[in-house]
Point group: C2
Chain length 343, copies 2
């Protein structure tokens, strides 16, 4: 018997320019079968937690120069999430398995390409963590810090957007590794979190600093060895002036630039020569082969209480557009998650 | 008996801003002893060839943020050169030895720090080559291409300021290595040289291209793997749009920016993430330990006629200021050398 349900979905109405607005997205209801179509090796999942991530902005614009495809207007938005298998056409997954990976912004999804899904083996942690600490942002922090920034004990590390999903983890990894860590964020509340909850050595509110280069000089009188770049623009310019010789800039994101029609210019790139800097961009999906190694490191940290993780939770699928938009104004405090269903 | 001579010198009059002019320098004559002072372990040399190099601009401004000290106004300009030992206070060098390394813009110099001097062992090549092909620019091309850009056979290589002292060599090394090589330069004559004398696959005059990104797209329909960066600014922006995934940008110099009070902004740095680029600056002096290995590679190439090297020769110490200034307007064709004396 084919079980068909009403399936609520969040769709992108059309491709956008500039800052995204809630009204660029719409809620709609479609009919959806909870059975995998005959002959398909996909799976049908019930979506539990959806992840709001800065990179999603790039999928809201039609472009040939990006590493992920644009969303399809009128179709559900696609993103990372945690889901439960309802029906499976592949031996890799069975009913009631929990998975994380690419799914749709809807109550139920048919996932035809299951290659990029990870089966969740450890359920003694909050399931929503698989959108963050134990999912893509966690792997991003891990790969960016250990693999790209190649840290040495005792080095000076600066992290922008430091209270975000990735930044808060990079800072904690860096502290556990033995580095001196300073973060920037956009409110007093976030700065307090960095210092009091995440154990950063120092933190500052970039919005209160007229001269970012001078602020960095204050926190790093001897300069910065590693900059974990999440924002771009003016902050990058200020950092370049404060890097130490042979410093590394792991370029994870440039959220300050994603919504600009004309990105800001960065003026201090001659510092790359003067200081012999390595500026290296990376994308997490090229590091997923390290996921088991990452879990091996991070699960004990979580269980021993050595890592804190802060989520900003929006309740209900309908809240997803506002939650996503909030990323670009810095509204969220910690990892932005949308709860579609708790089980 | 102490032999004292009149020693003609080129001095920087005072620190400058913006583009340097000939009149920022002056010729003066001092008295100079051709004997090493008693107790000194320095050497006195007769300067033969002096090198004009783009980085010298940075030494004409007082700044705390550079890797080399500023010149001292009123004192001779300091730079790379080829010289002959007249008197020696160190067992490392003896009278009539030929050396290359840091010397003064004057007829005779007392060099007190001989650690950075290289003794010239191979004299069956033009001595002036030790200001270029066999000296600092040669090592720069070698280190930047092999060590920083980490080339693979068959890769697509783009070089800006390609007919300059370093660029012409990078292109030839890349061709010998099995890469596809395109260079940009600022005149038809230079473009012809790149194609006809240096064996580049293609070359173009950047001054004739309204849209640099489109020009690069024409020469690299499949994108650029390695960019050997000598100019910065607008060219870098255009290159960023044309890089291939995992491309490398070896940042050797940014000559277009050295004379600007406010460097141009570079706008396309999000490409560093999208394409997972590595942008790495380097300074040749950190690679001098590879000099013997470099000679081992390059001397046979020279003798077999596999490498061409073009010098632009200015005759006489008095011509040095104009020769140096000419670098920043692209007047020179090939490596700019000043002949002080031929032996």
């Amino acid at each position: 018997m084919d079980e068909t349900v009403d399936n609520k979905q969040i769709v992108l109405k059309e491709y956008i320019r500039g800052y995204p607005k809630e009204s660029d997205m719409a809620t709609q209801v479609s009919k959806m079968s909870l059975k995998v179509p005959h002959g398909s090796n996909g799976i049908v999942v019930k979506n539990l937690y959806l992840s709001c991530d800065p990179y999603m902005r790039s999928r809201m614009t039609k472009s040939t120069a990006v590493y992920v495809e644009a969303f399809t207007p009128g179709q559900p938005i696609v993103g990372y999430g945690v889901a439960k298998v309802v029906d499976s056409g592949t031996p890799k997954f069975k009913k009631d398995d929990l998975v994380w990976g690419m799914t749709g912004w809807e109550e139920y999804s048919l996932i035809t390409n299951t290659d990029t899904l990870f089966k969740i083996e450890h359920t003694d942690v909050p399931l929503s963590y698989y959108t963050g600490l134990l999912g893509m942002p966690g792997m991003t922090a891990y790969a960016g810090f250990y693999e790209v920034a190649t840290p040495k004990k005792g080095e000076y590390v600066f992290i922008s957007a430091a209270s975000g999903a990735v930044g808060q983890l990079v800072g904690q990894f860096a502290k556990l590794f033995g580095c001196y860590v300073v973060g920037s964020a956009g409110s007093k509340e976030k700065v307090d979190l960095l210092k009091n909850k995440f154990g950063f050595d120092e933190a500052f509110n970039y919005k209160e600093e007229k001269d970012l280069a001078a602020a960095l000089k204050r926190y790093f009188p001897d300069g910065i060895d590693i900059y974990f770049e999440n924002v771009g623009g003016k902050m990058l310019d200020a950092v370049l002036l404060n890097m130490r010789p042979h410093g590394r800039i792991a370029v994870c994101g440039m959220i300050s630039q994603y919504n600009l029609e004309n990105p800001e210019g960065v003026h201090n790139l001659t510092q790359v020569i003067v200081k012999r800097l390595r500026v290296e961009g990376f994308l997490v999906f090229e590091y997923y082969h390290l996921y088991p190694k990452f879990l091996e490191m991070v699960l004990p940290y979580i269980k021993e209480g050595k890592i804190n993780y802060l989520e900003d939770t929006a309740e209900g699928l309908e809240s997803a557009p506002a939650a996503l938009i909030g990323l670009y104004s810095g509204r969220n405090i910690g990892k932005q998650v949308v709860v579609v269903a708790r089980e």
